[in-house]
C-alpha cells in the first residue's frame, strides 16, 4: 500500500510536467486548430535558457523562472509570426508539416550551438525530502506541483476574467465574427502563443532542476506525450489539459510499477489511439458538429 501511495506521488510529479506542456498545446489548438509540433522544443529552449542564465550568470530560481518564461514566450510569438501566420488559411496538413519543420530547426540549431551532449544544472532548489506517513516527498516535487497549480489558476483567470481572455475565447469560437466585433485577431493569436510558450518555458526549467539533465532532443517525447494528454483531456480545454497531463503521468508510472517499464511509451500511444476511437473530443472537449 505504501508503495502504491509512493507511486501516486511519482505519477503526480511526472504528470504535472506533462500538464504544463499540455496547457500550451491545448491553447494553441483551441484557437487556430494547429498541432504546434514545435511546442516540445520551446520547452527544451526553456530548459536551455535556464541552464545558461543559472550557470553563466548565476541567477537564482525565481529570476531564472521568469527569464525562461519571457524568452520562451517571445520565441513562441516569433515562431507564430514567421512560420504559422502566413499559413493560417491553408490546409491543416500544410500547417502541420511547417510545424514539424520548425521543430527540426529549433532542435538542431540548439544542438549546433550548444552541442548534443547532456548538460547539468547547478543546484537551484533544495532536494531535501519529507516523510509524510508512508510516503516520501521531495521539496522539488512540491515546487513542481505548486507552480503548476498556480500557473494553471493564473491561466484560467486570464482566460475567463480579462479582456484578452475574452478575445481569445471569441477568436477560438469564430475567427471572422470576432474580427467583425473589432477584435484584433492577429494580436490575440500572438498573445495565445506568448502565454502557451511561457508555460512550456516554466516546464523546461522545472524539468531541468528535477532531473538535472537536459539535451537538445529532450522536447520530442514529452512534447508528444503532452499532446496525448491534451487530447485525452479534450483539446481546447484548460482543466482538460491539466487532468490529461496528470492522467498520462499516472498511467506511465503505474505501467512501470505493475507492468513492464519497457512499455511506458507504448501505453501513452495506446491511450491516444483508444481515446481517438472511443471519444475523439476527449474528456472535457466540446462536441462540435462538422460544418459543410
Amino acid at each position: 500500500m505504501s508503495q502504491f501511495l509512493q507511486q501516486i506521488v511519482n505519477g503526480l510529479s511526472l504528470g504535472s510536467i506533462y500538464a504544463l506542456i499540455a496547457l500550451g498545446y491545448t491553447m494553441v489548438y483551441g484557437i487556430i486548430k494547429l498541432i504546434n509540433f514545435a511546442h516540445g522544443d520551446v520547452y527544451m529552449i526553456g530548459a536551455y535558457t535556464a541552464f545558461i542564465v543559472t550557470t553563466y550568470f548565476g541567477f537564482s530560481f525565481f529570476p531564472a523562472l521568469i527569464t525562461c518564461m519571457v524568452v520562451c514566450g517571445l520565441l513562441g510569438v516569433l515562431i507564430e509570426r514567421i512560420a504559422y501566420r502566413p499559413l493560417r488559411h491553408s490546409p491543416r496538413i500544410t500547417a502541420l508539416i511547417t510545424a514539424i519543420g520548425v521543430s527540426y530547426v529549433i532542435e538542431y540549431t540548439t544542438a549546433y550551438f550548444m552541442g548534443s551532449e547532456k548538460r547539468t544544472y547547478p543546484q537551484l532548489l533544495s532536494n531535501a525530502s519529507f516523510q509524510l506517513g508512508p510516503i516520501k516527498i521531495s521539496t522539488q516535487q512540491i515546487y513542481i506541483f505548486l507552480i503548476t497549480i498556480v500557473l494553471m489558476l493564473l491561466l484560467q483567470f486570464i482566460i475567463q476574467k480579462t479582456k484578452m481572455g475574452r478575445a481569445m475565447r471569441a477568436v477560438s469560437t469564430d475567427e471572422n465574427a470576432a474580427k467583425l466585433m473589432g477584435i484584433n485577431v492577429d494580436n490575440t493569436i500572438s498573445f495565445t502563443f506568448l502565454i502557451g510558450s511561457a508555460l512550456a518555458g516554466a516546464a523546461g526549467i522545472l524539468v531541468g532542476i528535477y532531473y538535472n539533465s537536459i539535451n537538445p532532443l529532450m522536447g520530442m517525447v514529452p512534447g508528444l506525450k503532452a499532446f496525448v494528454a491534451a487530447v485525452f483531456g479534450g483539446i481546447g480545454s484548460i482543466p482538460g489539459a491539466m487532468i490529461g497531463g496528470l492522467f498520462i503521468g499516472m498511467a506511465e508510472t503505474m505501467v512501470i510499477a505493475y507492468g513492464s517499464s519497457l512499455y511506458r511509451d507504448a501505453i501513452v500511444y495506446a491511450i491516444l489511439i483508444i481515446v481517438l476511437i472511443v471519444k475523439p473530443t476527449g474528456l472535457l472537449g466540446k462536441n462540435e458538429r462538422e460544418k459543410v
Partner: protein
C-alpha cells in the same frame, strides 16, 4: 492510354527478368594492398556518429582520433603523413555501410577507425572484409560483434572488451569482494545494456548470488522514480546498472535520494566526468564500476593524452575518446611498421602487441577482441579513489 495494368506488369516483369541474366556480377577488387613509399600521405577513414542520438559518443571519438593523427604528423621520426577523412554515419547502420564504402572507394583509405556503436560498426565489417580494408571499432562492445557465424570477419577489430567480459567481472567482484548476495539489475534496452545484464545475472548466480529484481529503461529516459520505488522493497544488497553515465547518473541520484544506500555497481558506461555532475558528489559513494580506462594512477602517456585533449578541445576526454585514441594509434603504429596497406597491414594488426592508454593488449585471434585486464574503480564522493584488477576465469 489506359492499358490493362496487369498485362503491362507482366510484360515489364518478363522484360526485366530476361535482362536480369545479363547483369554481370560486380567486379571484385583484386588487389590486396600496396606498399607505401616514404613520405606518402596515408588516408585513415574516420567513420563516426557525428549527428543523431549518439553523436556525443561519436564526436568524442572523432576528436581523439584527429588528435592522434595530428600528433603522428607532428612527430619527426615518422615515414608517412597521415590524413583523417571524416564521415558522418548519423548513428544509422545503413548510412554507416554507405559511408564505409565511400571511404574505401572514393577516398582510398588504408583503414577505418569507428564507428562508436556496435550496430553501426557491424554494418561495415562485410564491406571492409570484401575490400581488404581493416576496420577498428573503438567501442563496439556487443557480444559476438566481430563474428560472421563461427569465424570472425577477417578485417574487423575492436580495442574494447566485450560486454559479457565486463558483466562477468563485476558479478565476480560483487559476489566475492563486496560479499553481496541479492542483486537488482537495471539495464538500458540496448545491446550494451542487455549484454552486460545477462552476463552479470549468469555469473552472479554461478557465484552463489540471486537476482531479485530486474528493470529496463530506454536511452534518454529521465524519470526513474517509479522504477526505484518498485524495486526498493525487494531486499537487494547490490544494484547493477547496465547503461551509460547519462542515465546511470540520474538513477544513482534518484536511488540515493530515495534512500537506497547499498553498493551500486556498473560498467564502463559510467566512465565520464558527467557522471559526477549528473549524480551529485554526495551520492557517489559505495559506487564501483568496471573499466579499461581510469585516471587513477594514470600512466604518463594517459596524462599526456588528457592534457593534449583538454588543451585542444577545451573539455576533458572520456572513455570513448581514450579508446578511439588507442584505435587510431594502433593503425598508425602498424602502418609505420609495415609500410603497407591491405592484407599486410591487417596481418600486422592481428599480431600487434599494442601498448595504449587503455592498457596493453594483444588480439584473441578467435574473436578479434583484445585480451585486456578489467579494472574495478571505486568512487568516494565522486572521486575515483582506487582501481583493482579483476580476473575473469
Amino acid at each position: 492510354m489506359k492499358g490493362n495494368m496487369w498485362k503491362v506488369l507482366a510484360a515489364g516483369t518478363m522484360a526485366l527478368t530476361m535482362l536480369a541474366g545479363c547483369s554481370s556480377s560486380s567486379t571484385g577488387k583484386e588487389e590486396t594492398g600496396k606498399k607505401l613509399n616514404e613520405g606518402d600521405t596515408v588516408k585513415i577513414g574516420l567513420n563516426f556518429e557525428l549527428s543523431g542520438d549518439v553523436s556525443s559518443y561519436g564526436q568524442a571519438e572523432r576528436n581523439a582520433a584527429q588528435l592522434a593523427i595530428e600528433q603522428y604528423n607532428e612527430r619527426s621520426d615518422t615515414k608517412f603523413k597521415a590524413e583523417g577523412v571524416e564521415v558522418d554515419d548519423k548513428g544509422d547502420a545503413a548510412e554507416s555501410t554507405t559511408q564505409a564504402i565511400k571511404l574505401i572507394e572514393e577516398d582510398g583509405v588504408a583503414a577505418i577507425v569507428g564507428p562508436a556503436t556496435s550496430g553501426a560498426s557491424i554494418a561495415t565489417y562485410e564491406v571492409a572484409t570484401q575490400n581488404n580494408t581493416p576496420v577498428i571499432s573503438p567501442s563496439a562492445t556487443q557480444v559476438n560483434a566481430m563474428m560472421n557465424g563461427e569465424t570472425p570477419y577477417e578485417y574487423a577489430w575492436r580495442v574494447c572488451f566485450e560486454d559479457s567480459y565486463q558483466g562477468a567481472a563485476m558479478a565476480i567482484y560483487s559476489a566475492d569482494t563486496l560479499k553481496c548476495k541479492k542483486a537488482a539489475i537495471i539495464n538500458e534496452t540496448s545491446d550494451y545494456g542487455q549484454g552486460l545484464a545477462n552476463q552479470f545475472e549468469t555469473t552472479f548466480k554461478e557465484h552463489g548470488g540471486e537476482v531479485v529484481a530486474h528493470e529496463q529503461y530506454n536511452a534518454g529516459d529521465t524519470d526513474f522514480a517509479s522504477m526505484l520505488t518498485k524495486i526498493k522493497d525487494s531486499g537487494f544488497d547490490v544494484l547493477y546498472i547496465a547503461g551509460y553515465y547519462s542515465e546511470a547518473g540520474l538513477i544513482i541520484k534518484q536511488a540515493r535520494e530515495d534512500g537506497i544506500d547499498c553498493p551500486i555497481v556498473g560498467a564502463d558506461g559510467f566512465e565520464s566526468e558527467k557522471l559526477v555532475q549528473l549524480a551529485g558528489k554526495e551520492n557517489l559513494n559505495e559506487v564501483w564500476y568496471t573499466t579499461a580506462y581510469t585516471t587513477v594512477n594514470a600512466s604518463d602517456e594517459l596524462n599526456a593524452f588528457i592534457d593534449a585533449y583538454t588543451k585542444k578541445y577545451d573539455q576533458a576526454p572520456n572513455m570513448f575518446s581514450a579508446l578511439a585514441y588507442d584505435a587510431t594509434n594502433l593503425v598508425l603504429d602498424q602502418l609505420e611498421a609495415t609500410g603497407a596497406t591491405g592484407e599486410e597491414l591487417n596481418e600486422a594488426i592481428k599480431k600487434a602487441n599494442f601498448e595504449g592508454i587503455t592498457g596493453s593488449f594483444t588480439f584473441d585471434e578467435k574473436t578479434h577482441t583484445p585480451v585486456k585486464s578489467v579494472m574495478v574503480v571505486n568512487q568516494v564522493d565522486g572521486v575515483q579513489t582506487e582501481a583493482t584488477e579483476v580476473k575473469v576465469d
